[in-house]
């Protein structure tokens, strides 16, 4: 079989465009000409200044928003809507507060009418995987911010996703917790075998996590460049190679932040 790279890819974007409020006076272009291919099992970080459209691209890949143009494929099939295969994890807590932890984790299964016994066992396994087996019967508001995000990861894992989409999932956490969560996420990524698309504006997160870093330009969001990150895992954030990569990414980003600032000042 002649292998078409697009159908082997976990996610493939060709010339993807997103215009918000298209056809109105408020129309503005969020994404322009996005070309990107993500391999199965790859860890890709989207890095860019705030408002550059990197989260928008994640929502398009999740199928929560339709693209305005271009072609968007997941495992060779056009993305037409959300799918449990592509789980999205949000920045702010998204656990349903009226459900207990295990009910949250198995929420997707309950939508399909899976029996309670099976839901409990799936939830128990997923919670064990994120190290929160003892939180099974707790309520979300009894957990810390970091624990809540781990439950959100467990909920995504319970759907056995092939792609994990993460929208600044650790942005609301303190620095120490964030570091712990990065190690935790790498463990989860390794044994789930899923591709991870991870949005952040923290260069350190890109250095610590990514196989490849996709750097975005400020509005409209375009891919400025894609930087390979071949540092050996487990990574030492203070190695000379990591420092060099950090400096490189910082310089790439600085231009964009400057440009975004200049634009905002021009608007005032």
């Amino acid at each position: 079989m002649a292998s078409d790279p697009a159908s082997d890819a976990a996610v493939s974007c060709r010339g993807v465009v997103k215009v918000w409020a298209a056809g109105t006076a408020r129309a503005h272009e969020a994404l322009r000409d996005i070309d990107l291919t993500v391999r199965p099992g790859e860890f890709v970080v989207f890095l860019g200044p705030s408002g550059c459209g990197k989260s928008t691209l994640l929502y398009l890949i999740a199928g929560l928003e339709p693209a305005s143009g271009g072609e968007l494929l997941a495992f060779g099939e056009a993305v037409t809507g959300p799918s449990p295969e592509r789980s999205l994890i949000f920045q702010e807590t998204s656990l349903l507060p009226w459900l207990s932890v295990w009910q949250n984790v198995s929420f997707g299964l309950s939508l399909k009418g899976v029996s309670e016994a099976e839901r409990r066992s799936v939830a128990r396994a997923a919670l064990q995987r994120v190290g929160l087996a003892e939180a099974f019967d707790k309520r979300p508001d009894e957990l810390s911010g970091g624990m809540r995000q781990r439950v959100a990861v467990a909920r995504a894992l319970a759907m056995r996703p092939k792609v994990l989409l993460m929208d600044e999932p650790f942005a609301a956490l303190d620095v120490q917790t964030r570091q712990k969560m990065q190690d935790f996420l790498l463990d989860v990524w390794r044994d789930s075998g899923a591709s991870v698309l991870f949005v952040t504006h923290h260069i350190d997160e890109a250095v610590a996590l990514a196989d490849r870093v996709v750097v975005f330009t400020a509005r409209p969001g375009r891919i400025k460049t894609i930087v390979r990150n071949d540092l050996d895992r487990p990574r030492d954030p203070f190695s000379p190679e990591a420092e060099a990569l950090r400096r490189h990414l910082t310089e790439l980003l600085r231009d964009e932040v400057d440009r975004a600032f200049a634009e905002q000042e021009a608007l005032v």
């Binding site: 998204s94 349903l96 997707g108």
Partner: protein, 309 residues
Amino acid sequence: MATFLARAAAVPQDRPRLPLGQRLALPEGLVPLLRRIGWMLVSVGCFAGLWELLWALGIADAKLLPPPHIFLGNLAEQARFFNTAQRWQIGTGMNTGPSPAMAVLITVLASTGRVLAGLALAASLSILVGVAIRYVVLFERLTLPTITLLAPVSPIAWLPVAIFMFGIGNAPAIFMVFIALFFTMVLSTIQQIDGVNRNYINVARTMGATKRQIYARVIVPAILPGLLAVLRLNLFGAWMVVLVAEATGVGYGLGQVIMLARNTFNPSLVFFTITLIGLLGFAFDLLFRLVQRRLLYWLPRDAGSSLGL
């Protein structure tokens, strides 16, 4: 002064002063409750005391503003005017029929029942209509403009309509409570739906939820706390409306007693009934909060003082 200080210093200080609750070994949680009840009694006591004082000084005329000890002092006298309609219906005179306490109770229960029926009807129908408006676009286009137009109309304006449609009895009073709450609660249901955290909905969507599942499993539970808060704010409104409806010839009830007191120039009866209504409203609010807490088990306990005394 010096001797006073010396004596104060001589008091043995070896035992630390524990809070009163711990010294008396009261169960935890009871102390704040007792404290609130205590302050409530002080607050009401000051008000009643001032009134009594004005009466004792001859400033408050007992014929116009009888103080509490007068209008609360003679239940049997006051009770003669309660439950009058039913006595007329069964043909008993002013001084026969149920005992004074029973007569008051029958009247109180009649008004309470009307308020509860109106509240239940308004709450369930307005949630249904509000959700339907957001669920079906055509339904929104057909109904929302009319509902928005009718929402600001004072419930009092509906009173003649209630009587045209339902005559006298329970139905017009229940209708009045319903109409006073329905339109605003539909609008606030819609507002609550629009305010639901997008993440909750997006989570359900990525998990493959259908539109119906999103409404039933995410939106309705998410709007429940806000709706109950709105319902609680409207509780007092419901009581006001039911009194107006009863005062204008629904038959019997607390509103009718007030009107009777007005027509027969009986200030004692007015204040006695006002006291009853105040206590009832208070009890309703308390009960409502307990129900709210039970129903919204996932909200933190300290959100709002728990019993609000």
